[in-house]
């Protein structure tokens, strides 16, 4: 019976082709294989986000009058509501962390070389979308910290020359943070960003499938990978071990450090002390904070925004700036750039949490 059903589905869905693809797909095994697991880890955490996000949507109400109360209701009255919200919040952070590890490992192993330029660009877009997910989701509980962090975050956007004013009003839905901003961020968080992200994830996974795993130049120079591992089941099973470990970490974090709700946002209250953005924006926040007021007559904040923008552009265009073979002086310079960026981001993120001031 099951065999006949499988045959019926296989005829209609082309399961044999998929099975053939899965059987054919393999992964090179070498000393950098470990980094291959981080893409799957990011995707797994994205799945957790989607699942817990849908559950939160069942109770969340997106208005300035009700948002905080609805999250409080989820945390206190809904069975396992506290767990779902804590997992959603922790998983968001772990997902961005996993995406960053994936990005840096791809950069430093030069996985963006032709023909994988679009894989790199789509990955960068996905990281940008993850940050946008984080920024928009942070405001949704409508608590004091989120309110003022969003105010500071959107103020920075307003400082961008020419388009700053437009961007600020676009994000806030007016001149100030209000219930309108909350509704807008909710729209971004649950409709616009998921639609775009799903599409880009599809493209990214398709490209990974099409071009296979990239082998780092250093491994190629040493004669290439000595052996290859079947994607199904060998690599897949290892992936699942990692996902289970991530699930364990999520359970641990959610039970020991449930995500706080804090006080309800009050636009007339003074900003709470020690206000800072989520850790993944920390290095940008610290850069802005440490900038002198003026550099060569130009506002320090503008110089910082321009610098971060330029750095982002170079990072995005790395596949076109690096040597296509990943060898030679240009390649070494790009690797050095990656190391500097990694050290800079880690150091400046840590500085935020050490309370460093200019």
């Amino acid at each position: 019976m099951i065999g006949r059903l499988r045959e019926w589905l296989a005829d209609r869905l082309g399961l044999d082709a998929l099975q053939h693809l899965a059987e054919k797909k393999d992964v090179p095994v070498h000393r950098h294989t470990f980094w291959y697991y981080w893409g799957g880890m990011t995707l797994f955490l994205f799945g957790i986000q989607v699942a817990t996000g849908i559950l939160l949507l069942l109770y969340y109400r997106a208005s300035a009058d009700e948002a905080y109360e609805s999250v409080r209701f989820i945390m206190t009255q809904v069975s396992f509501g506290w767990l779902i919200r804590s997992i959603h919040s922790w998983s968001a952070n772990l997902m961005i962390g996993a995406a960053m590890i994936h990005m840096f490992s791809a950069f430093l192993t030069k996985a963006y070389r032709p023909p994988r330029e679009l894989t790199w660009i789509s990955g960068m877009v996905l990281l940008g979308l993850s940050l946008a997910f984080g920024f928009s989701g942070y405001l949704l509980p409508w608590n004091q910290l989120a309110f003022f962090a969003t105010k500071v975050g959107t103020d920075v956007t307003g400082a961008v020359p020419v388009v700053g004013g437009f961007m600020l009003r676009f994000l806030r839905g007016g001149e100030h943070i209000s219930g309108g901003t909350l509704t807008r961020f909710f729209g971004f968080h649950v409709a616009i960003l998921p639609a775009i992200a799903t599409l880009i994830v599809g493209v990214h996974v398709y490209l990974v499938q099409r071009h296979g795993m990239s082998v780092p130049p250093s491994v190629e120079d040493a004669g290439g990978p000595k052996r290859r591992m079947k994607f199904v089941p060998n690599f897949m099973l290892r992936d699942m071990v990692g996902w289970l470990a991530a699930l364990g970490v999520l359970a641990l974090l959610s039970a020991l450090f449930p995500w706080e709700l804090g006080l309800k946002a009050d636009p007339f209250a003074s900003a709470p002390a020690g206000i800072r953005p989520e850790w993944y924006f920390g290095w940008m926040f610290q850069t802005l904070r440490m900038m002198p007021s003026h550099i060569l007559g130009i506002e320090g904040e503008l110089v910082a925004i321009a610098g971060i923008g330029l750095g982002g552009a170079v990072w995005l265009l790395a596949p076109f700036l690096d040597d296509p073979r990943g060898r030679g002086q240009r390649a070494r310079m790009m690797t050095a750039l990656g190391v500097v960026a990694l050290v800079y981001i880690v150091a400046f993120t840590l500085l935020v949490y050490r309370g460093a001031k200019p």
Partner: protein
């Protein structure tokens, strides 16, 4: 073909502009309140005032002095000139303007000042021209004051209207510069009620020094609490008198309503009155009143009951029974608060516990007020209510902590399951990758 392309692009640009305007709204219209600015600027009446014109030019400061402050005087800002109090003709630029035959009165005599002010300020119909809800001065009330009585006896070294309000630069009481502004009243009273001015009189003169250090003085001067009492809140202003023994609980009860009401009905009030003691002042003092503490209840340490009650008396026995229960209730409250704090830090639900704790704290405030009934049954009832609420707060906190422990147990269980699954997967990997025999 070309016009079609132009139209197509124009439509695209228009649609894009509309979309951008839609997503990034701009506030329309002028800022709120901008239109009110002009209306808020008022110009004074331009009536002729030759008194001011001449007196402001005079060298004798006694004669020109009044013109310095008068432009900001509340009378001047409401269009009233010198003539209102001094008479004469403000349209006459010559000395004939001050002809007594034409109604010139000059400076009013000290004993007549209150009557002169009352001629307008006691006239409700007239005062309503300037304020729809005016303060109506009552000469009858002023006559009840020690000040007025002394003036009537011919003692002119006591205060009349101008001593407190000023003369030619009178400001409305709401103006912080006014000597009768709530914060300034104690210092205005002290201009006369000081040792030097009161020499030869029996009136005490240490009130300001005591009041400044008191709970009321600190609240008003340091904390800026404008509801805290100054001199006039207890003594009255235009009818200022020292409160009589009997009136003190009424005076205090004006603000401390529940305490005043319970005390007035208590046997203690009756006894104190019989013994000629001064109600609330007996335990709390008056001008130098300190923040009340729970330690005041009892015979020992800071306890004030011992001022009247001796050890072994019924009052002392009641205090000995109540005080330990009172402190048990307070320690119960502190325990509930601490447990709720722990539960808060652990991230479990504490809202119902905090609500119960708030009610229990309110019950403590109620209990402190109920002590003024000096009757065991209501005090015991208030204690029992507070105890019940504190227990409820504590049990909510404990429930939260139990919930937290359950979460940890759940986490431990889920970790065991996850680790078991991981072990199975690893075993499966080894099985798959075992070289074929």
């Amino acid at each position: 073909m070309r016009p079609l392309i132009v139209i197509r692009w124009a439509l695209v640009v228009a649609a894009l502009s509309a979309a951008l305007a839609y997503v990034a709204p701009v506030a329309r219209g002028a800022a709120p309140g901008a239109a009110d600015t002009a209306a808020a600027t008022r110009t004074g009446p331009s009536a002729k005032n030759t008194c001011f014109d001449c007196h402001s030019q005079l060298d004798d400061s006694r004669l020109s002095g009044p013109t310095k402050d008068f432009p900001q005087d509340i009378h001047a800002t409401h269009g009233l000139g010198c003539v209102g109090c001094h008479g004469g003709n403000p349209n006459d630029p010559e000395m004939t303007a001050m002809d007594p035959d034409k109604g010139f009165k000059g400076a009013p005599a000290r004993k007549d000042i209150a009557e002169l002010c009352a001629s307008c300020h006691a006239n409700a119909a007239y005062m309503k021209r300037f304020n729809p809800q005016p303060y109506i001065f009552s000469m009858a009330e002023f006559r009840t004051s020690v000040h007025c009585k002394k003036i009537a006896e011919g003692d002119l070294k006591v205060a009349t209207c101008t001593n407190c309000h000023g003369v030619h630069g009178i400001l409305p009481p709401r103006d912080p510069r006014s000597p009768v502004n709530h914060r300034n009243v104690p210092f205005t009273c002290a201009k006369c009620h000081n040792a030097e001015y009161m020499k030869g009189r029996t009136v005490p003169t240490n009130q300001l020094a005591l009041w400044r250090e008191s709970v009321h003085g600190v609240a008003l001067l340091v904390k800026g609490d404008m509801s805290a009492p100054a001199c006039n809140n207890c003594h009255g202003n235009h009818g200022a008198v020292p409160p009589k023994t009997r009136d003190i609980s009424v005076v205090c009860g004006n603000c401390h309503g529940r305490e005043g009401e319970l005390f007035a009905k208590s046997k203690v009030a009756e006894t104190l009155e019989f013994e000629g003691k001064r109600g609330c002042v007996t335990c709390h003092s008056n001008h130098g009143i300190r923040p009340p503490t729970d330690a005041m209840v009892g015979l020992e340490g800071e306890g004030v009951c011992g001022r009247c009650h001796t050890a072994g008396s019924p009052g002392a026995r009641a205090a000995a029974e109540l005080v330990p229960r009172f402190h048990t209730f307070k320690s119960h409250l502190a325990r509930a608060d601490s447990l709720l704090g722990v539960a808060d830090r652990l991230g479990v639900e504490t809202a119902p516990g905090h609500e119960a704790l708030k009610q229990a704290n309110d019950a403590l405030v109620g209990l402190r007020a109920t002590i003024h009934s000096f009757s065991l049954p209501p005090i015991e009832a208030a204690l029992a209510e507070g105890e019940g609420l504190a227990s409820r707060a504590e049990s909510h906190a404990r429930e939260g902590l139990r919930d937290w422990r359950n979460r940890r147990a759940g986490m431990a269980l889920s970790l065991v399951v996850i680790l078991a699954l991981m072990a199975l997967l690893i075993a499966r990997i080894r099985q798959v990758e075992r070289p074929a025999a």
